[in-house]
């Protein structure tokens, strides 16, 4: 029997701070991770915007107007434009076919957020028939099909044809912990664009998820990442135990998958620690985020290199 020594990382390595240094950094693990960091380089940091409003979800009632306002505030801050409409127009034009990759399962993306995004795309000049909202092979074309998503385009070389049809992609993911990969955020959300996701659901904490960002169509067409952090899940998952849901009332926006996921991970970890009143590390460790940086070179997972802009409601921001 072959012994599993190659690439072995144990609990002991994590405690010593020698495993996935940047992951340890994001998790707030051990001073070792910090001491091993070089000072952040002088070049411009990657911006991730966190925008929150305590009125977004009150009890279980979702406020569409508030969410729409948060989205606009977030995108204008991300792209440093005076008006949100300028940012949308900067990103998308009338010539674009835009695919909005959402999440439908277990903790679905809030419809109010999707509708606000589609309205903004339409205002930016994108034609209604050129907007696709989809997850897996459930595809809606135009505003009328946002909820029903009746179209089925199928897959080519394991990639949904809707990805090939689009000229621009928006990744709208949920914010949740995940029993097999530690967390399921924007990187893992691309599993819903392929028909062989099982090849990424591997026993090594799904270490190869970062490879999804190297799929040429995804890499070249991705323009915006939005994390629906209105009501995240901080333990278990993807199946929901309501005990571990909380009204965070936030959205995260960015253009770097790895940076966005690193910030979201930091928030989830902080929530877990607060819930237990002591360190309660995500298990298994979400190593795929650090590896998306260090192995697949698809972005940064070093919080020192991320400019986190916090807007709106600051209470219990956890970061």
């Amino acid at each position: 029997m072959k012994r599993p020594t190659e690439g072995l990382v144990t609990r002991r390595d994590f405690i010593r701070g020698t495993a996935f240094t940047t992951l340890g950094f994001a998790l707030g693990l051990s001073p070792f991770a910090f001491s091993q960091q070089n000072p952040p380089p002088a070049k411009k940091k990657i911006r991730v915007v966190l925008v929150r409003d305590e009125r977004a979800i009150e009890e279980s009632s979702v406020n569409r107007e508030v969410i729409s306002g948060m989205l606009n505030q977030g995108i204008s801050s991300l792209f440093e434009t005076a008006q949100a409409s300028s940012a949308w127009k900067m990103l998308f034009s009338a010539e674009d076919t835009v695919g909005i990759k959402i999440t439908l399962m277990m903790t679905p993306i809030h419809d109010e957020l999707i509708k606000a995004m589609v309205d903004n795309l339409l205002s930016a000049g994108v034609k209604d028939e050129n907007i696709y909202v989809w997850d897996r092979n459930e595809i809606g074309q135009g505003k009328a099909e946002i909820i029903t998503r009746p179209k089925r385009m199928g897959y080519e070389n394991h990639l949904n044809r809707v990805v090939k049809k689009c000229t621009a992609l928006i990744n709208v993911c949920g914010m949740k912990s995940h029993w097999l990969s530690g967390v399921a955020l924007s990187i893992k959300n691309w599993c819903g664009a392929i028909d062989n996701a099982y090849t990424y659901h591997t026993e090594d904490c799904c270490a190869s998820l970062g490879a999804l960002l190297k799929i040429p169509e995804i890499e070249s067409k991705s323009r915006l990442i939005i994390v629906d952090a209105l009501k995240p899940l901080f333990h278990g998952g993807p199946q929901v135990d309501p005990k571990y849901l909380w009204n965070y009332n936030g959205l995260l926006l960015g253009i770097d998958h790895v940076a966005v996921d690193t910030v979201a991970l930091k928030i989830i970890q902080a929530k877990r620690d607060k819930f237990q009143g002591k360190p309660w590390l995500l298990s298994p460790p979400p190593a795929h985020i650090a590896l998306a940086d260090t192995k697949y070179k698809r972005g940064t997972s070093d919080l020192n290199k991320i400019d986190i802009l916090k807007l709106g409601w600051q209470k219990d921001a956890l970061i």
Partner: protein
């Protein structure tokens, strides 16, 4: 001849179709009645090992790790305007190949209010969980109000009463010492992905866990400290021995002792491993070596006596 072959293929198809629809029918019968005033959103959905991913995506792997067989999902509305507001109640009935595996799923999170419903049932924050025989049931209401709590528990009780048989608890439970044992911490599983979800040990399968191994992870409260105990049953002593050697070499980074090894690791803690025939017992999270030794001794005694009778 070709017609004969086609006829047999047709017969096989009919047989399989009969089996599937028959089993689906059985799961259907377990669903709660709608006498409570609840309205079904649509017809129930049935999932098997092949299409469970359509419902749970990556979550399906967890159920497959417990030898999942079938699932029926039925959603109910609990008020007229509920659909618009997405206020639904979802019943999930998982049929597993054994009561051990159904119990294993139930054991993964045992927080909640314990209910007097057979065999074991819990409720908390809008989620009802039940284990009976080879079924694991979840009923999730999105609101968690007192009114819905009553309705959810009533539905769960009805399902429990429809399941006539009772299942057995995993035998490994009988090998755990009573002293200091925290019953709600007991987790039963087979594969290392589940171990890593419960207590991350390594990104590789250094203990050689598989669908053929049975394992429990649980806490022991000793002198106000919590020790973690992992007990694994391998198919045979040879495989247990191999895992013992691998764990010593790859995790403890020491030469293996004959049958027991206790090593001081990070944070001043001790990790102990003990080999007993086809069983491997491991203790983590103790700052005192003698506590590790003592817990390993207690399990060893239980194993030698054949557990609680």
């Amino acid at each position: 001849m070709r017609w004969v072959n086609k006829f047999f293929i047709f017969l096989i198809f009919l047989f399989n179709w009969g089996c599937i629809s028959g089993e689906s029918m059985n799961l259907n019968k377990l669903l709660p009645s709608t006498e409570t005033g609840l309205k079904k959103t649509d017809s129930p959905k049935i999932y098997n090992r092949e299409n469970l991913f359509d419902y749970l995506d990556g979550g399906a792997e967890l159920y497959l790790a417990y030898d999942f067989q079938k699932l029926i999902v039925q959603k109910y509305l609990f008020s007229q305007d509920a659909f618009a507001q997405k206020k639904t109640l979802t019943v999930e009935i998982f049929q597993m190949s054994s009561s051990f595996d159904a119990y294993g799923l139930f054991s993964l999170d045992q927080d909640g209010e314990e209910l007097n419903i057979e065999q074991k049932a819990l409720y908390g924050y809008g989620l009802f969980k039940l284990w009976k025989d080879n079924y694991f049931i979840r009923i999730l209401n999105t609101e968690g109000t007192d009114e819905l709590k009553g309705m959810t528990i009533k539905m769960g009780k009805e399902i429990s009463e429809k399941i006539k048989n009772k299942g057995e608890l995993p035998q490994l439970l009988s090998f755990l010492p009573e002293n200091g044992f925290v019953p709600t911490s007991f987790r039963y599983f087979h594969k290392f992905t589940v171990l890593n979800y419960l207590y991350f040990l390594a990104n590789k399968n250094i203990l050689n866990l598989s669908e053929e191994t049975n394992a429990v992870l649980c806490d022991f409260q000793v002198h106000e400290k919590t020790l973690k105990l992992l007990l694994i049953e391998y198919p045979n002593a040879l495989q247990a021995k191999r895992a013992f050697l691998d764990f010593n070499q790859l995790y403890l980074k020491t030469e293996a002792a004959d049958k027991r090894n206790i090593v001081k690791v990070e944070e001043g803690k001790f990790v102990g491993v003990d080999l007993n025939d086809k069983y491997l017992c491991l203790v983590f999270e103790s700052k005192k070596e003698n506590l590790v030794n003592s817990l390993l001794d207690s399990v060893k005694n239980k194993l030698e006596k054949g557990g609680n009778k």
